[in-house]
């Protein structure tokens, strides 16, 4: 197969998913942003219902001012990596602040969340080591596993008994295995059974990494994520996450109580060989973290919105992918149905994410909403009335078991 032939098959897939409105749902152009929750898509004003902007901080005045000040004081970019060009004071301050937020001594900041997983997994594991990951893990976890060259074993999604079986099969190797799970899974919005996973990890003497990309600022009394909500912070070895969702910036991080985290800087290629986060990004992220800490009411607003939307959709008779969560996924009976629904919602003024195989688990097609603290109760009502016009799904046998 020629190099370009692979791209030709992507073109065929792309042709296949054009909606009746002539739009390709993947990579839609938002022509103009009007607020954290509104934008212009295909020339019309729509409510943004699929942005992962959980705390709505992208237009927070303090975050904007912090970014502007850093832009003026330190310039537009760092023009290189921290290893070569050096760290700016802001990079180090952000690392101190994210470590302090978790109450752990060590933190490392990466340029994106994707790179945080690549960088951490690739640095911790190598040929001869074993990584045991949830089968529904994000692509960045799978890619980090590939980069490491370690042996990669998947366990059935959110199935502690299967994890236990696989660690048992590893025998003495389990003591050197790294188990990787996510706080909230990005497609269905379901949470890892973390307390059970921590107990199993302890029993086998393995290490545990939790990706809190979708749960930072969302779960836990202080907003630290599922590790906090499940009361198992001390049983987790590494937390990785992103600044791009609840903190409205871009960048990734890892925090840990293990002092060895500091050595990752010298071995992690995704840390060493990429440009460091820009001053404005670092400054707005630091301010967003401060806002997350001083305004717990944002998390309360978010959960009020979750309750309103989840309750409303359930009352309308829709089958939802998981328990109430800022990620709400509606399963549709086919890809074509999901595509038609997606366009219908857009026509009704609501933008959500369309998710189809192979990005989804189990070959299902989903309409995925992510809810923001910045959504008003009126906007949630508008989202609900747009959904009210969709047919209720008759799911093929077997898929209901995923709920």
């Amino acid at each position: 197969m020629g190099l370009f032939d692979k791209l030709a098959s992507a073109a065929a897939v792309r042709r296949d998913v054009v909606s009746v409105g002539g739009l390709v749902p993947f990579g839609v152009t938002v022509e103009r942003l009007l607020s954290p929750t509104e934008g212009l898509v295909a020339g019309r004003r729509v409510i943004l219902g699929g942005t992962n902007n959980y705390l709505g901080l992208t237009f927070d005045q303090d975050c904007i001012e912090a970014g502007v000040a850093a832009l003026r004081a330190e310039g537009t970019g760092t023009t290189g990596s921290r290893m070569a060009n050096g760290s700016y004071a802001g990079h180090l301050a952000l690392e101190r602040e994210i470590a302090d937020f978790y109450g752990w001594p060590h933190a490392i900041v990466f340029s994106t969340g994707y790179l945080a997983n690549l960088g951490m997994i690739g640095a911790l594991a190598g040929p001869g080591d074993v990584l045991v990951i949830d089968g529904d893990s994000h692509a960045s976890i799978y890619d980090g596993c590939r980069l490491s060259g370690a042996e990669v074993i998947r366990f059935r999604h959110n199935n502690p008994a299967d994890l236990d079986r696989r660690l048992t099969r590893l025998g003495s190797q389990a003591r050197n295995a790294l188990v990787i799970v996510e706080g909230i899974y990005s497609m269905l919005g379901d949470q890892a059974p973390l307390a059970e996973i921590v107990a199993i990890k302890h029993r086998h003497g393995a290490l545990l990494m939790v990706d809190e990309a979708h749960s930072l600022g969302v779960l836990g009394e202080q907003g630290r994520g599922l590790c906090e909500a499940a009361g198992v912070m001390e049983g987790v070895d590494f937390v990785v996450g992103t600044f791009s969702k609840s903190l409205g910036g871009v960048g990734g991080f890892c925090v840990s109580a293990h002092a060895e985290l500091g050595l990752v800087r010298y071995t992690s290629r995704p840390y060493i060989f990429t440009a460091s986060p820009s001053p404005a990004t670092v400054a707005s992220t630091r301010e967003a973290l401060a806002v997350l800490r001083r305004q717990p009411q944002l998390r309360e607003r978010l959960w009020q919105n979750v309750t309103q939307l989840h309750g409303g959709l359930t009352a309308l008779g829709f089958v939802l992918g998981a328990a109430p969560s800022p990620v709400l996924a509606l399963m549709r009976e086919s890809r074509d149905q999901a595509l038609a629904d997606w366009q219908q919602l857009l026509d009704a003024g609501v933008y959500v994410n369309l998710m189809v195989p192979p990005a989804t688990p189990g070959g299902i097609s989903l309409l995925r909403c992510s809810i923001s603290a910045a959504h008003t109760p009126e906007q949630i009502k508008l989202i609900l009335s747009a959904f009210a016009g969709l047919p209720r799904a008759q799911l093929p046998t077997g898929q209901a078991a995923l709920v």
């Binding site: 089968g135 042996e151 074993i153 998947r154």
Partner: protein
């Protein structure tokens, strides 16, 4: 644990026949080329094999397996 290649092949054929609704399966059958399995179906197939033989098949091992025979060999190697 002595499990013969024949038993692994039989188990795999049985799963594949139901997965592909009755397509012919032999050792040299290509999982993607001949059976048109997508990556999710292959993952599910492997998890069933893992349960049947109480073995974990590393993801990297699967990447090298193109045919039914490759998979049988990989599983057998893991078991012995």
């Amino acid at each position: 644990m002595a499990v013969s290649a024949q038993r692994i092949l039989e188990t795999l054929k049985e799963r594949l026949t139901s997965l592909t609704e009755g397509k012919d399966v032999a050792a040299d059958t290509d999982l993607v080329g001949d059976l048109g399995l997508d990556s999710l179906q292959i993952m599910e197939l492997l998890m069933e094999m893992e349960d049947s033989f109480d073995v974990s098949i590393p993801v990297n091992v699967i990447a090298d397996a193109r045919t039914v025979g490759d998979l049988v060999l990989a599983v057998q190697k893991l078991l012995n």
